[in-house]
Structures are given as C-alpha cells and as structure tokens.
Symmetry: C2
DNA sequence: ACAATAGGAAAGTGACGACTTACCTATCAA
DNA sequence: TTGATAGGTAAGTCGTCACTTTCCTATTGT
C-alpha cells in the first residue's frame, strides 16, 4: 500500500537505513546498527533499528532472507517508482475511474 | 528540506490535496475543501485543510499566489524528483533481485 | 552441554502531529 | 457602512509513533 510506503519514508532513521542498503546490500541488523552509529552518529538501540526494519519490510522497501542465525536485508526500490508516477505523470492511468 | 517533503507526504489528506491539484491547478482553499468533501468524503474543517496547505507550501510542493481575497494554489513537483533519485540507482539493470 | 551471538516480542513513556473550536483580519458587493 | 465571503491564527484534545527497557527464542562455536 502507498500508505505504508509514505509512512515508512517519513522517518529520518529509516531513510538512513535505506541509504546504507543502497551503499551495501544484504546487511544484517547488527551491521546496520554499527554503520549507523559510526557513520551517522546515531545512538539508537538494536531493538529500535529492528523495529524500523519491520516497518521498511512491511512497506516492501526492504526484503529479508534468513540464513542460519543471520538475517540479511536487501533494498527493494520497486515501491518507490510507483509513488512517484502519482504526481509526476498527470496523464497516467489512475485507479480512480 | 527533504525532511519537510517526506513529512508532508506522510499524511493521506495532504496526498489527496496533491491529487486534486494535479487534476486542476490553481484552486482556492474553499474549492479544495469542497472537492475533498464531495469526491473523497472527507469531512474536515476548512481550518484543517488550511493547515495542510501550509505544510505543503513549506515543503515546496505547493506554490500560492494571492489575488484580492482569493489565494490560488499550484502544484510544484520539483521536490518530488529530488527525493526519488536518492535510492533509485541510475545504472542498475532491470531484473536485478 | 554451555555460553556467546543474532534476532524477536512484549509494555511503558514522551513527544509530535492532526484536528476542532473559537476568534480575528482582509476584501468585495449592496 | 453593513454584511457576506475568503482566509489566518491560537489553544486544547486525542491518538499515534519512536524509543527504551526487559525478557525471550534460535543458532553457532568450543
């Protein structure tokens, strides 16, 4: 849903996470925590980042694959292209007949 | 800057307002109120819509021009294009998982 | 087995945001 | 001027969201 995508993008920490995944795909939760702390100075707990990842995954912006005790997260830009065409292309076939 | 744009897009009512302005540019506050009420069944007060327009204008998504006692609102899609290119990798192949 | 590691799932708190109510200013028509 | 229209602003309420704390499950290494 578009609602979930926009709400997911509303938080600056979640946007930072997307930035991290653009730079290097397939990171684990602990890796994301470490990089956010060192590169951006974000002093958030692991649980907080984990909750953000849940939101991003529910919005379809992040896909995760489990491998043993590791869970790797990949960026999925597909929902982004959908929300853009809503206002950038006025003559696109809209869902409102 | 980008923060304001994402926060502005986070609210469904504000996205509806953008939809309305895509369909017909240069509407006044009362026109937007009427169309949101009739077409989308939104029972919001004029003040609420006015506050949303302030948010949209602060984000640069809406430009307004005053003319007498009327204030016309125009859509500005420029901030949208900026936020899209942030995560959409330009040289990524189409079917990359 | 045991402990360390990677992750998940609660409840609780504090702050921010959306909305209403009420009141106020400015412009136009009679 | 008077009254109607178009818009602006402030206080207050209520819900939502981000975050922490605490505790729990699952996998791996020794």
């Amino acid at each position: 849903m578009a609602e979930d995508v926009f709400k997911a993008l509303a938080d600056p920490t979640r946007r930072r996470i997307l930035d991290e995944l653009v730079e290097r795909d397939g990171q684990t939760l602990f890796e994301i925590c470490a990089r956010l702390a060192t590169k951006h100075g974000l002093g958030l707990t692991r649980q907080a980042i984990g909750q953000h990842l849940v939101v991003l995954e529910s919005a379809g912006l992040v896909r995760s694959r489990r491998q043993g005790r590791y869970k790797f997260h990949d960026l999925n830009t597909e929902p982004l292209e959908l929300i853009v065409t809503r206002w950038l292309r006025p003559d696109a076939p809209e869902g409102t007949p």
